[in-house]
Assembly symmetry: D2
Homo-oligomer: 449 residues x 4
Amino acid sequence: MSFLQELLSSLEAKARQNGVFVSRQSGREESGLARLESACDTLMHHGGEASRILIARQALSAYRTLDTEQQRAFFHLLADQYAADPAAIHAAYARYRETEDNTALQALGSACEPRRQSLFRRLNQCPGGTYELVQMRSDLLAMLKDHPELAPLDADFAHLFASWFNRGFLMLEAIDWNTSAAVLEKVIRYEAVHAIHDWNDLRQRLDPGDRRCYAFFHPATGDEPLIFVEVALCRGIPDNIQSILESDEHVAPEDADTAVFYSISNCQAGLKGISFGNFLIKQVVEELQRELPQLENFVTLSPVPGLRKWLDQTRSEGGLPGSSDVLERLEAEDWLDDKASRSKMASDVTALAAHYLLDARRRGAPADPVARFHLGNGARLHRINWPGDTSAKGRQQSHGVMVNYLYEPGRIEQNHEAFSREGTIACSSEVRRAAKQGQQRFTRSRDKA
Amino acid sequence: MSFLQELLSSLEAKARQNGVFVSRQSGREESGLARLESACDTLMHHGGEASRILIARQALSAYRTLDTEQQRAFFHLLADQYAADPAAIHAAYARYRETEDNTALQALGSACEPRRQSLFRRLNQCPGGTYELVQMRSDLLAMLKDHPELAPLDADFAHLFASWFNRGFLMLEAIDWNTSAAVLEKVIRYEAVHAIHDWNDLRQRLDPGDRRCYAFFHPATGDEPLIFVEVALCRGIPDNIQSILESDEHVAPEDADTAVFYSISNCQAGLKGISFGNFLIKQVVEELQRELPQLENFVTLSPVPGLRKWLDQTRSEGGLPGSSDVLERLEAEDWLDDKASRSKMASDVTALAAHYLLDARRRGAPADPVARFHLGNGARLHRINWPGDTSAKGRQQSHGVMVNYLYEPGRIEQNHEAFSREGTIACSSEVRRAAKQGQQRFTRSRDKA
Amino acid sequence: MSFLQELLSSLEAKARQNGVFVSRQSGREESGLARLESACDTLMHHGGEASRILIARQALSAYRTLDTEQQRAFFHLLADQYAADPAAIHAAYARYRETEDNTALQALGSACEPRRQSLFRRLNQCPGGTYELVQMRSDLLAMLKDHPELAPLDADFAHLFASWFNRGFLMLEAIDWNTSAAVLEKVIRYEAVHAIHDWNDLRQRLDPGDRRCYAFFHPATGDEPLIFVEVALCRGIPDNIQSILESDEHVAPEDADTAVFYSISNCQAGLKGISFGNFLIKQVVEELQRELPQLENFVTLSPVPGLRKWLDQTRSEGGLPGSSDVLERLEAEDWLDDKASRSKMASDVTALAAHYLLDARRRGAPADPVARFHLGNGARLHRINWPGDTSAKGRQQSHGVMVNYLYEPGRIEQNHEAFSREGTIACSSEVRRAAKQGQQRFTRSRDKA
Amino acid sequence: MSFLQELLSSLEAKARQNGVFVSRQSGREESGLARLESACDTLMHHGGEASRILIARQALSAYRTLDTEQQRAFFHLLADQYAADPAAIHAAYARYRETEDNTALQALGSACEPRRQSLFRRLNQCPGGTYELVQMRSDLLAMLKDHPELAPLDADFAHLFASWFNRGFLMLEAIDWNTSAAVLEKVIRYEAVHAIHDWNDLRQRLDPGDRRCYAFFHPATGDEPLIFVEVALCRGIPDNIQSILESDEHVAPEDADTAVFYSISNCQAGLKGISFGNFLIKQVVEELQRELPQLENFVTLSPVPGLRKWLDQTRSEGGLPGSSDVLERLEAEDWLDDKASRSKMASDVTALAAHYLLDARRRGAPADPVARFHLGNGARLHRINWPGDTSAKGRQQSHGVMVNYLYEPGRIEQNHEAFSREGTIACSSEVRRAAKQGQQRFTRSRDKA
């Protein structure tokens, strides 16, 4: 029996004596939920620092045995019994109003903090605890829609994660064919934009000399990537994804003038809202500049995931009256193998996409989530490519449209400020012209989506 | 010019245009303090995520140029202008009282949080920022005594550091002769108990097969150790430090039955109050058990830093009337080379030390800080050794008394709980007897120190 | 242009001036073979130490462009023009006979050494050269059968490789799911006993807690494994391979009493005759004992690759007259799904296999190569298992028979000596009895294979 | 008892039974020499591959106990009883003369090989054996002068080491303040040109941004450096060593135009004659070019270790009649603090040094060993600096003269060839002129040293 196990045994003996682990005394096998509840209780009230690690481990391993219904019950327990105490808040405020001094301020701040934050901090002390808590929030997020009353719980997770996963703790690592299989299989699993089908496919993405992949890792979550980006080195700015994913043509890295970010995947559902992508792109640009000083363009080749849905919905609401023709042909997909047909349609498709990207808004920001992300980072909408992705997924999402966003160091801050303050979209004149055409050609009145 | 530098330039141009960096326009070289203030201001109000890293870097490098007086001015700025806003707190509370809902609660919690916490978080985003903030707090602590009005600032540091340096993020590493010189020179510098005089001395501590050293590191502070412990493997529990530090006799690790923790040093003044020692000892016990399963005793050989001061003060206040004789001889130090004299004094010295350790209290806890630490961890006061440390420092602190604290896995939790709830000290009967003798022999009424 | 490239340019200029690179002057693109020949010539006669690395690199990259016919031409060049010079040998011997002193001895030794050894040493100086030379020998071995006149060349490779790949330079490394994909794909490719079909299959072999894999690497050949062994931890000695390869049942490592070496694969055809297996097994036993001291048995589960061929041939030559019945049934493979049939045949099959393993000899040693290897290492033939491998390959090779060889530390040396001196096979009494039955039951006169 | 130890025990039992370890049976403690002899005998005649590792370990550990006299006895044993067998050579030659085929050739080559080579190869199989053999040769070299009859033994070591330490196996590693103390203390110990006094001194050499240090390591000798070079980055070619060793002025690496190799130390006496320096310098030039492409000059600042001795000897033989004046003043060392005196002497000192470097020859090559090394590598004698080294050692060796040798990529091969073929020294016109002056001014007839 190891030192820590012995510690735990003695603590359990004591706790049982005190009636803490009540349900065990009944002789029946305690349920995971019951064990979890009693471990959380012990964690808040008993035990020295060292034994807390073990109790936290027990709590987390009990959590892992829960089914969805039990998880929900546990979350409600946290929401109800590990909340802040209004009476304590009122009392603390009364004192603060009197003195307005710092002691009273801190006391009030503490009273406002739900007790579960302290519980989460203690659970986080056991090795591996951070990852388990990320998983726990992932479970919570899945049921948040049906249980909006659990939102406060999620806010506490988000608050703590923002601190634990702060930028200064992240480590950028290159991923390549020398990376461990344990990490690579996660890359296969987490790739969210252009699926990696198997290990051969993965090798195609990582091994050629003109490909790069970078991920952020966090010391407390070990070999779990948080986010990764795949990069292709090219000559010129590419206008379709198939030339990157399927071509056997490669360029010598020192001959490339362009780095294309063609896939960015967030890996941990439980870290929703803790944003890494902006830092990742900019740090990767730094890395690439150091390695290959001749690179001139840093650009994405990005999907437009909301385009088709928006077109369909807008039409069903009577918008875009002039677009029937082109949309029908797009849906028929006869353009796929018909070059002449494509030539005729191209200008219309581009105009519709530009109109969507520039004019379709949700609470002031672009309706398209990928546009929102890159434009918010200070990138510039450079070019609309059609057909840019002829895969089934690409056609299903956006009739095959893809977009290049350009990261220009000298303009990023301006773009970012103009976007975040006034919603202004940085955009090439070509795309702006197309958007105007789109609006004029297909709508009578300005679309309100 | 690198990507990030270019970002920064464009941001600076913009800021200057907006009159943010006012003092620069005067044409004079801006002072470090002015640059720091303006960088902090920019960090709170301007700039995208990526450029914040650069502004944080500027702020921290400006901070490094400050002299003590400027530091103080900066800390007062933080205390005054980066505090919480009472009006906002009152308003938030008014809303909360009305609804008692979670949105209002979070708003109130946020209103209570001094704005400097957000500033510190942003400074922490630049690589190396964590260590610089630890240094900043170290500077603050040095002036806290003369400037108690800065205590709220310190509380904010402590709050953030407790989260950033949480146990789950620490990495235990063995330190030995294969460790890099960059780390080893820090071990020399930070050793706080038994000074390491030079590299040869260091080698004596690390290289023999029966010595071990372990440190905690944090991913964001790189090769800066947070705390380290030095261990000697022995046969039997040693009763003096010179046999460990100066002897050339060594034991084969697999023949040892005892691991002695003979020096524990906190390395970062700026992490005061964030305790690592308890975890460190217990994790090292685990490590040693794994490597050398035959070990039976895990014990310290510890100084008693408060003993002599307490004796002197107590006497000057008229306490310990019966101790004049022995204390005079102790001060005369004639016992150093006089074995017979030592034999006669030993029982008295031990009784005085035991009386001090068990009966001298400060706010209920043992007055001696080392005793407080180990007893609080759940260790047991095993034996008083005299003379245990004949070095000048040892005599100066405690007339040469040293103590063994025993870490017994099966008893740690009980000891810890009894100590933290009722102030009960776990103690061998031998020491308890000595303490009783000390009290009876040297005092009339119970000492009140 | 880098330093070394500049060196090379100046050397080439000089060489061209001297007419060394003759064929280039013709204006036609020089063939790979011509470039190789001229580079070898330069390597032997021109250039300082540093430029030799570059010339070696050129030579090896020219070699890589050769087709089989050109390789053969190159090997003949080496055999003819890079041989030892008989006249020089006679002269050196004449001097040696006269003096018998050491100078003359060394000169004679040098004269006996084919010049290509020196060439190979120089090729070996360029980074990666070692691996390329191993590949070169692999090419040579493939044509040796048709070109026995190239055997002296092979002897030179073998001589040098024995020195370069000496045991003291090898590094044992554990292979697991954290190993880099670049190494793991080689494991898939090189597995020679029980094919690994894909990455999922590989994961099954490496990832469960009761599986281990170890390989030898050499510093000069980087991540190219030389040999690897796959190990399963079990309770008891397993009697069939499917329970290891296909079962989902696993045992906790600390509960295992047996380590089974179920697959050993040499990876480099070009290192034929440089034996690593014996060392590998014994070093892995050491590793496993250290990690899991409770292990009692170290045993193989091995194929009998020569059994079926020997049975067929012996029968065709009129041997084993009594075996027709059982062999026919074995060939019909009706035993595969017929348990009753199997029961009846088992004793006959075992007896035939035992007879083969103990009595079929080639130049005094067991005819079966796997038996030769393990018995030569000092292992003991422990048990014959039927059916031990029901895969198509297993049935094809040996009608499904597998064998356990036992490595018993206390007996290995005796077994080894008895085997290598007198050809005695260490063997359980059970197997010996079966072999006797086999001989009596199926042959009249002792088989002479 | 581990697997290998058990192996060994059983082998020893067997050996004792066979009377191999004769001396042990006498009951007396066997001497180290006797144990070594018997272990070598066993290694040649008994034991399987695996137990050989253990016997080799025993042999080497027995060797370590020998005093010089016993070492000598052992070396004589090797020289006498582990030599080649003349009778076998004559027989093998007889067969070869008859057939001239490859089998006979190989047999003759084998017969010429002293048996101790095989012994050394077997000793080399135990981990750490390579380093121990290097130490063994170091011991041998120390006694070779008094025991020239052991030279054949040394030739065998040299032959094997050339193969084991071939260029392709060496690893270049940067040494800096992050290197392990275990390696750094070896750098302190092995520095042979400008002594490193302590760890602070070492830090001065390694830590500043404009210093570099590189070493070759070999996989079989672990953290034992074979050779290392210290480099300073400067602006311009420095003319004295004190400005490098003692100055606190440093240059930003990216502002340097010159890399100065100011100290090269061979670390292993036992590897005498296996040259690494040439490769090291050229590979370090490559490294530096990669890191700092703006570097223009790669140059040494080298001692002239033979100068003073040659001057003294030449004068004592009546050469250099015109040099009395300047040599007396040099010896008086009054120039050290007398700038005016220095100015007057400078041209004479330079002329004498140039005359020595260009005209003093030993067997055709420059008499000065450092000149021989760099000129042999293809460097060019660029400049004579006086005073270049005012340390006691510098004055003692060469009256303070130092030299720059220039490594110019485009000329190295020519220089090397001209030097090695015709003894031509590549040299600046300035130095050539000085040498001519030296000859004319101080000698009547050409010096013959």
